[in-house]
């Protein structure tokens, strides 16, 4: 690895100052599972690691029944999927956290890092989108909040300006009769990059779907929020026809590429299939039913 300095600031202000003073080659270090490799392989010119894990706002899980859930952006995945509140109220986050990398990567990697890397196939981002995640950002010019679906701008690119840090991710308190599900297709059982992934959140009042959010990944330059797919479900009971309409909307929104992981045709097809399956599973969860798999 090239020569680097290591800093472990105790406050956000200190971290922002370090990033500001040291320019674009000063890199935020959370779990390090991507940035350490990129620095070692010289894919990112790196002069300084600013380790943000000692800053209180950046780690930990806070839940309040009216305010909802706030995750420090650097909270490691294993803490997320072992948290009983998250298991009970936000199982869609467990779906994502428990299949990113292997066990040793989950000991370090975080949703914040996954989001900042802005990979089109990132396995947390569809879940963060459908759960209405909001990204709290602090930088030299103060603070702002960005909806997760607007955070990524292109492969490896995001909305963070020079000196800005993603501090936390917040989610509203779950509504009654709501449920969400994330699924990924890979050709093996674990430890692979998604050919396509998808997430759906649903809320029912009586028999009618009153809110639905659907997002798909690995089918566009950034993880894709598909409002048209959710809209196909809202205002009516969930039926095979409405599910087919939503899944078709996902397939139509997908603009995938051909690569070694899958073809355009396969990815379009998978966008349909995974949308359908996540809708059915989200509905099971909304009704308090166990999933079949």
């Amino acid at each position: 690895m090239q020569d680097v300095t290591y800093r472990r600031p105790a406050t956000l202000q200190e971290a922002v100052q370090l990033l500001k003073d040291n320019g674009p080659t000063a890199r935020v270090l959370a779990g390090g599972t991507d940035i350490i490799v990129m620095a070692r392989e010289r894919r990112r010119d790196t002069s300084m690691f600013v380790d943000i894990k000692a800053i209180p706002e950046l780690t930990g899980i806070r839940f309040d029944a009216s305010e909802g859930l706030t995750l420090g952006a650097a909270t490691p995945l294993y803490q997320i999927y072992r948290n009983e509140t998250i298991q009970r109220l936000y199982p869609c986050l467990v779906d994502s956290a428990s299949l990113i990398g292997g066990t040793a990567v989950q000991g370090r990697a975080s949703f914040g890092g996954n989001l900042c890397n802005a990979g089109p196939a990132a396995d947390s981002i569809p879940s963060l989108i459908v759960l209405e995640g909001k990204a709290r950002i602090v930088g030299p010019n103060g603070e702002r909040t960005v909806a997760v679906e607007d955070f990524c701008t292109a492969p490896g690119r995001n909305v963070l300006e020079a000196g800005e840090i993603l501090v936390s991710l917040s989610f509203p308190a779950p509504q009654p009769n709501s449920g969400a599900r994330f699924l990924r297709f890979i050709p093996r059982n674990e430890m692979d990059i998604a050919v396509v992934n998808a997430a759906t959140s649903l809320r029912f009042e009586g028999n009618n779907v009153v809110a639905a959010r659907i997002a798909i990944g690995a089918v566009a330059p950034r993880p894709l929020f598909v409002p048209a797919a959710g809209a196909a479900l809202v205002g009516k009971p969930l039926t095979d026809e409405s599910i087919a309409a939503a899944a078709s909307a996902s397939r139509d929104a997908a603009t995938p590429i051909d690569d070694m992981r899958g073809s355009v045709r396969q990815r379009k097809h998978l966008s349909y299939v995974l949308t359908e399956r996540t809708i059915r599973d989200a509905a099971h969860r909304a009704r308090g039913e166990a999933l079949e798999h």
Binding site: M1, D3, R8, G32, V37, G102, A104, G107
Partner: protein, 157 residues
């Protein structure tokens, strides 16, 4: 010239102070500065698990941790498993079940499986396979490894 820093840790139960470059990975520090060469470098990018260690109770790949991050940390490597020259049940079943061929992946498998059994003393085969999915064995000895972990779990029943 990278800065050198002094780091205080507890490694395999022993308070350990060492000097490292700020750019050193924990893997480099363990092998080259502390002499714990049981920790193996395979891919050096987080895919193979040969460098797995337990850090403050969680399994990590030491190639993906900076030595500088370990100030105050408690670290267990494969060298810390056997106590007083006596192998753990898991190490014993790895030998009995011939759960290794060339052996370079073995320290990572032993450390990862130790971390599994600490938090889940009686894992299913499915749980063992998923937990160890981040450890690669080029000699394809997976079935024997899984069986060795199952036998170790049975023995601690």
């Amino acid at each position: 010239m990278s800065n050198r820093i002094i780091i205080n840790t507890v490694i395999n139960g022993e308070p350990t102070e060492f000097l490292a470059d700020e750019r050193d990975s924990l893997l480099e520090a363990l092998r080259e500065r502390i002499g714990l060469t049981g920790v193996k470098e395979g891919c050096n990018n987080g895919n193979c698990g040969a460098c797995a260690v337990i850090m403050d109770g969680r399994l990590v790949n030491s190639c993906l941790v900076l030595a500088a991050e370990t100030e105050g940390a408690n670290i267990t490597t494969v060298e810390g498993l056997a106590k007083g020259g006596e192998l753990t049940p898991l190490q014993q079943t790895f030998l009995e079940d011939a759960a290794l061929q060339c052996g370079i992946c073995t320290p990572g498998f032993l450390v990862a499986a130790t971390a599994l059994l600490e938090q889940n003393p009686h894992p299913s085969e499915h749980e063992i396979r998923y937990w160890l999915a981040g450890n690669l064995c080029r000699c394809t000895g997976y079935d024997k490894i899984i069986r060795a972990v199952q036998h170790a779990a049975e023995r601690s029943a």
